[in-house]
Symmetry: C2
Subunit: 203 residues, 2 copies
């Protein structure tokens, strides 16, 4: 198998951190997103959505979406569990991964892509009013994360999970979006410092 | 346990269709979203995101996000499997459920919420330019679904799955968004007619 990787972009990074936490090595095929290689005919043939990462199995089967590829590896190599354990534990990881991705990460991404001058060829059309509308949303969602982390070591409870990977990539994306974790959100700051110290964070 | 339900809104409906396909009965607590009851202090205490559905277990544990609640029931009652079977099958359902939800359904929802006059108190601020930007995206993503359905009975392959539920709710939401499946997308139209005929579609 091989994994088409996209460098510093958030979703390829989620994938690499997941693999590092699992201790799984997959040959990486670099795709230069700055040169728009993810929109090339070759990549488009693999994924019509022109997104990375893409996993190609030896029989040619294609998997896209970092969370779907991660789930494939979780099923093949259950240890350490990153999608939770038990019915309720799995559901809580799913819930928190969605809360982080569909609310917080989506808001940060919209703020970045719709207001940053470097994104004008990436987000067509850029709608600056939509980007600005997402800044207060990002703060509101960070507060929900901070409240959860006041009671829990990790975002979905007592164990590190894929939801922490999503939250790390989301909070590391605050800076390019010209946002930051407010000083008063000490629990989220504590969590970010801890999770950033894991070896996988450098993946 | 009890399920706080939100009537005709897309995510509560996804939940009810999933339960109907599983043959699971859960006591429903109706929440009048037209009267903004989902923003009441009681619901906010259960889900700070003020979204429905919400599952409350007998011990008071709260689960939110229809997909997370669905996964909880899938773990408890595996038959019929709606999240796929086998490592690759589960990954493909995850991939297609995400493609439908994060691209197509997100585009349709944005087109509706940011341009429909009835949504002015729901989407604050409404950004009509963002709503309009999503109309061509919705068409582009429908084409990807149509291409997949040219080769497959259901959206994730040969078996009905949660990704079909998401796609049914998404396509039923085209009309309020003043969109429709183009005539030439016969595979998506064939699929919609078939899936709409399942008893669960009336849930």
């Amino acid at each position: 198998m091989k994994l088409y990787d996209g460098g510093r972009a958030p979703n390829p990074r989620r994938m690499r951190i997941f693999l590092a936490e699992k201790g799984i090595e997959v040959p990486l095929i670099p795709v230069d997103m700055a040169a728009m290689e993810h929109k090339s005919p070759g990549i488009t043939a693999l994924n019509p959505l022109q997104r990375l990462p893409i996993l190609e199995l030896d029989d040619g089967t294609i998997l896209t979406e970092s969370v779907a590829i991660s789930r494939y590896f979780e099923e093949l190599y259950p240890e350490p569990p990153l999608f939770g354990t038990g019915s309720l534990g799995k559901a809580l990881v799913e819930m928190w991964n969605r809360r982080v991705e569909l609310y917080l990460m989506a808001a940060i991404t919209a703020a970045f892509r719709h207001t940053h001058p470097a994104m004008i060829e990436w987000e067509i059309p850029q709608v600056p009013a939509w980007g600005e509308a997402n800044r207060p949303k990002a703060l509101q969602y960070m507060k929900i994360m901070d409240d959860q982390l006041a009671q829990n070591e990790f975002i979905a409870g007592s164990a590190f999970s894929i939801a922490d990977i999503t939250l790390l990539v989301a909070t590391d994306f605050l800076k390019p979006a010209k946002l930051q974790i407010p000083e008063e959100m000490g629990h989220l700051r504590r969590w970010q410092a801890e999770v950033s110290g894991r070896p996988s964070a450098r993946a």
